[in-house]
């Protein structure tokens, strides 16, 4: 955590090396969060690139509260939400995308089918629940940090998480 703060402090002073280290350390986590929330590699790439470029172009305007990892994950989540909102107004929404592939029976041999089902169930959750679950489990944000970052009461974060988890449980039990 201390190392992150030093990196952030340096990057705010225009250190390219510090940005490089932040990139190397967190690009995978950021892409993972974006892919979870958007379900599309092209959009995830755009969002992560946008977040990085906003950091690089105007770091002095950003005030880091809490951990850098959490901050970056929330930036990705916010940009993803913006993108999905914009999409609703245009014909290129998620629903316009044609399924990329069909069930490969043997892929089930290689990957756990339960995880595949869970992945699909996660995508069907309301965005707010997906966001809280993804940021808590994959980016390691506490509920308190999430409440602060998303600017909603702690109870709201906890209930979004609880409803999401319960829906997933029900979904898995039903399909069992």
């Amino acid at each position: 955590m201390l190392e992150d703060h030093i990196l952030w402090w340096r990057s705010k002073r225009g250190s390219r090396r510090a940005f490089d280290l932040i990139y190397q350390k967190y690009v995978d986590m950021m892409l993972s969060v974006a892919l979870h929330l958007l379900g599309n590699a092209g959009d995830a790439e755009d969002v992560v690139q946008e977040v990085f470029m906003s950091l690089v172009e105007s770091p002095e305007t950003i005030k880091l509260r809490g951990r850098l990892k959490g901050f970056l994950a929330v930036c990705v989540a916010n940009k993803s939400r913006d993108l999905l909102r914009r999409r609703k107004l245009t014909p290129t929404g998620r629903e316009d995308r044609v399924p990329a592939d069909y069930d490969e029976p043997l892929k089930l041999v290689i990957r756990s089918e339960q995880i595949l089902r869970l992945r699909d169930a996660l995508r069907r959750l309301p965005y707010e629940q997906q966001e809280v679950i993804t940021l808590h489990i994959h980016a390691g944000l506490t509920f308190r940090a999430l409440a602060r970052a998303l600017q909603v009461p702690l109870g709201t974060v906890q209930s979004r998480y609880r409803y999401g988890l319960n829906s997933l449980k029900t979904e898995l039990e039903r399909e069992d």
Partner: protein, 409 residues
């Protein structure tokens, strides 16, 4: 009802990773920005901290190496196991049978692999029952039979991409292929093999293959993972493979493979799902239906463009049967799905452009052909740009694999 911890553990396993190409593109963008702007480096302690951390890491690595050497020296008097002993032990065997699980809570699955007397792979059967689906797959020299008990579907098809999946599975877990495959991968880099010598003759040896993160398997980057082979001390055959993947900094079980018996001939009808399936099964045999288009003398790029052009023309002409055949499918359900979910979803009016093919990002294979069509929806016309991926279907034929809408105006 599943516990919260169990669900959270499963969610943690739903991993998405951006491809290397994506990471490189983001970094390139970032590099370009820096080249356009002068960066002011301010001296701080970060590099020094990093250097110090590196020194600590080096010291730790030296200690680990010394420890390993001490253990090896201590064991030098014990009988030594070498991978070649297992390769030799399976050399003339023809029948392999094993059970496996791809997650701790999954049901047991079973696989049978048969080689012909010349040592060539002849037939493979995998039963992969899950809590939701019961199904079996038989592959024999390029032709696949796939039977789903629950949907009462039996598909028989000839598809190169499916064959590649079967061969990938065989290379990793068939005892005849697994060790040579590991050795070959280790030579290419990204995999490190370590042999745990037995303390005495009665103990099994272990072979641990550690995969660097982002090692490509079947053209797909994987997280750091480890495969541990347990070798029978007497026969030198593989008894078990344990697969673990790195999750949140520690190895988590991702699969076990238990080798039940070696070289016990299989029952005669094991590889005939058509006979095994009940009479009321919906059998769809597409092996005699030519999918996609024949390559002939065209180059790969030319046939890819040709497939896309004919597919789009058939789509615009509402000749859905022809378009579905060019697209390619493995069973009647899939053909229906292409018609309902792809072709009938958009009213294509005309083809505006079919561009030059590009190589798609890994893990995808074949060629991606960008194209632009004019369409009509809810009384309004617009243009849309697709990326269609084309690859070999069977023999010398090429078909479409997927279609993605890129931009719509």
């Amino acid at each position: 009802m599943k516990k919260d911890k169990e669900i959270e553990g499963l969610i943690a396993q739903v991993q998405y990773k951006g491809s290397q190409a994506i990471r490189e593109r983001i970094h390139r963008h970032f590099e370009e920005w820096w080249q356009r702007h002068v960066s002011i480096e301010v001296g701080t302690h970060t590099e020094q901290v990093t250097i110090r951390l590196n020194k600590v890491a080096c010291a730790a690595a030296v200690l680990v190496i010394l420890g390993v050497l001490a253990v090896l020296l201590h064991r030098s008097a014990s009988p030594a196991y070498a991978l070649e002993q297992t390769v030799e032990a399976v050399k003339d065997l023809r029948y392999f049978h094993f059970q496996f699980k791809t997650s701790p809570e999954a049901l047991d699955r079973e696989a049978w692999i048969e080689y012909d007397p010349n040592g060539s792979l002849q037939r493979v059967r995998v039963d992969f029952h899950t809590q939701a689906i019961r199904s079996a797959m038989v592959w024999a020299r390029g032709i696949t039979q796939y039977w789903s008990w629950d949907s009462k579907d039996l598909w028989i098809f000839d598809d190169q991409e499916y064959t590649d999946l079967v061969l990938f599975f065989v290379r990793r877990y068939d005892p005849k292929e697994a060790i040579p495959n590991l050795q070959q991968r280790a030579r290419q880099g990204g995999i490190h093999i370590e042999i745990g010598q037995p303390a005495n003759e009665m103990d099994p040896a272990t072979v641990t293959a550690t995969y660097d993160p982002n090692t490509f398997l079947l053209d797909k980057p994987r997280p750091a993972m480890r495969e541990t082979f347990t070798i029978d001390p007497a026969t030198k055959l593989i008894r078990r493979i344990q697969v673990d993947t790195m999750m949140n900094g520690r190895y988590t079980p991702a699969g076990t493979y238990e080798y039940i018996d070696y070289n016990q001939p299989f029952r005669a009808d094991l590889f005939d799902l058509k006979r095994e399936a009940p009479a009321d099964v919906n059998c769809s045999d597409t092996t005699s239906i030519p999918m996609g288009l024949e390559q002939g003398r065209l180059s790969d790029e030319q046939i890819a463009v040709q497939v896309v052009r004919e597919f789009l023309n058939a789509w615009a002409a509402k000749d859905y049967d022809k378009a579905t055949r060019i697209y390619g499918y493995r069973g009647a359900n899939e053909a229906r799905s292409i018609r309902d979910n792809v072709l009938q979803k958009m009213n294509v009016l005309r083809v505006l452009a079919v561009e030059s093919p590009v190589i798609p990002e890994r893990p995808l294979t074949g060629l991606r052909v960008p194209c632009v069509v004019e369409y009509e929806q809810n009384g309004r016309t617009g243009t849309t740009r697709f990326g269609l991926r084309i690859s070999k279907s069977s023999g010398n034929r090429w078909r479409i694999r997927d279609l993605q809408l890129k931009e719509t105006r």
